[in-house]
Symmetry: C2
Subunit: 141 residues, 2 copies
DNA sequence: TCCAACTTTTGAATAATTCTAATTCAAGAA
DNA sequence: TTCTTGAATTAGAATTATTCAAAAGTTGGA
């Protein structure tokens, strides 16, 4: 997600807006939504539009430079780390953490499934409570 | 998902519309969207509204009688089978299959994750290609 | 430096889902 | 069986996330 050469060579035109988005995403492990990105980039480029964020994300998706996460039923999250990994979500605050373990060898599918589907990959959503929320009193109701 | 007594005893008022939704969901393994349910129930209750489908789904969610699936980035799918299980999605047609295997014991989390999160549960999305799509020629672009 | 092709922008358009207010109804009480 | 009331249904408006369209502005190779 760093060297800008990589993007130009893949035919991506590098505008200031895109550079700002790339910079924001580089090494970012916060799993931002489109809105998170929009708000962050807006600080340096107050005129940037949502469409530009979505356009750029679309381009990066097609280049395989970001992944779309479907963990959150309300909105898409994006992950610039495209090496295969899993996620853990705090069920109280929604914080998303990374899990860099390859469980594939342990995930054998039963015959009734492999008869119907040829498996290709997998992704695990772990659910739990983060440290901060564990300290906080659970809201009563 | 069957005995209607269960619902009444939990304070759910049983209207004809709700009974039709319950009947449609009972034993349904197609992982329908709200629209799938709306269209199906509409056959018997032509005046049913989307709001009723969403209301009922909300009530069933709160009762723990259906699960919301986030596999599809475009829309929510619902599963009346609330016993813990996983899913496999056809990356070509979107068909969703069930995987009734408990992999929990194989899904140990590394310390850097358990330091930050107290894990509670997990759900695996498997991705693959279904039998039907495997037969079909892949569309060339 | 020039210019075609690609981007950005604004605002409108979609699509999924939620909300609102008025009307209707389920089901326990009488 | 009828009454009563809180809950459910409905139509349609409202919201929210995301996409699209057209005009204006830029990038980067020639």
């Amino acid at each position: 997600m760093e060297r800008i050469e990589k993007y130009r060579s893949k035919g991506l035109k590098l505008t200031p807006q895109r550079l700002a988005i790339l910079e924001y995403l580089d090494g970012n492990t916060s799993h931002p939504t489109a809105e998170d990105i929009y708000r962050a980039v807006k600080k340096k480029h107050p005129t940037i539009s949502f469409a530009t964020v979505y356009n750029t994300l679309q381009a990066l998706l097609e280049m395989g430079e970001v992944m779309e996460l479907t963990i959150d039923p309300e909105r898409k999250h994006f992950d610039p780390n495209t090496t295969p990994h899993h996620h853990i979500v705090c069920t109280r605050c929604g914080k998303i953490g990374d899990v860099f373990v390859d469980y594939s060898s342990a995930l054998e599918l039963p015959p009734e499934v492999t008869e119907e589907f040829t498996p290709i990959s997998n992704h695990i959503d772990f659910y739990g409570v983060c440290k901060k929320c564990n300290k906080t009193k659970r809201r009563t109701k």
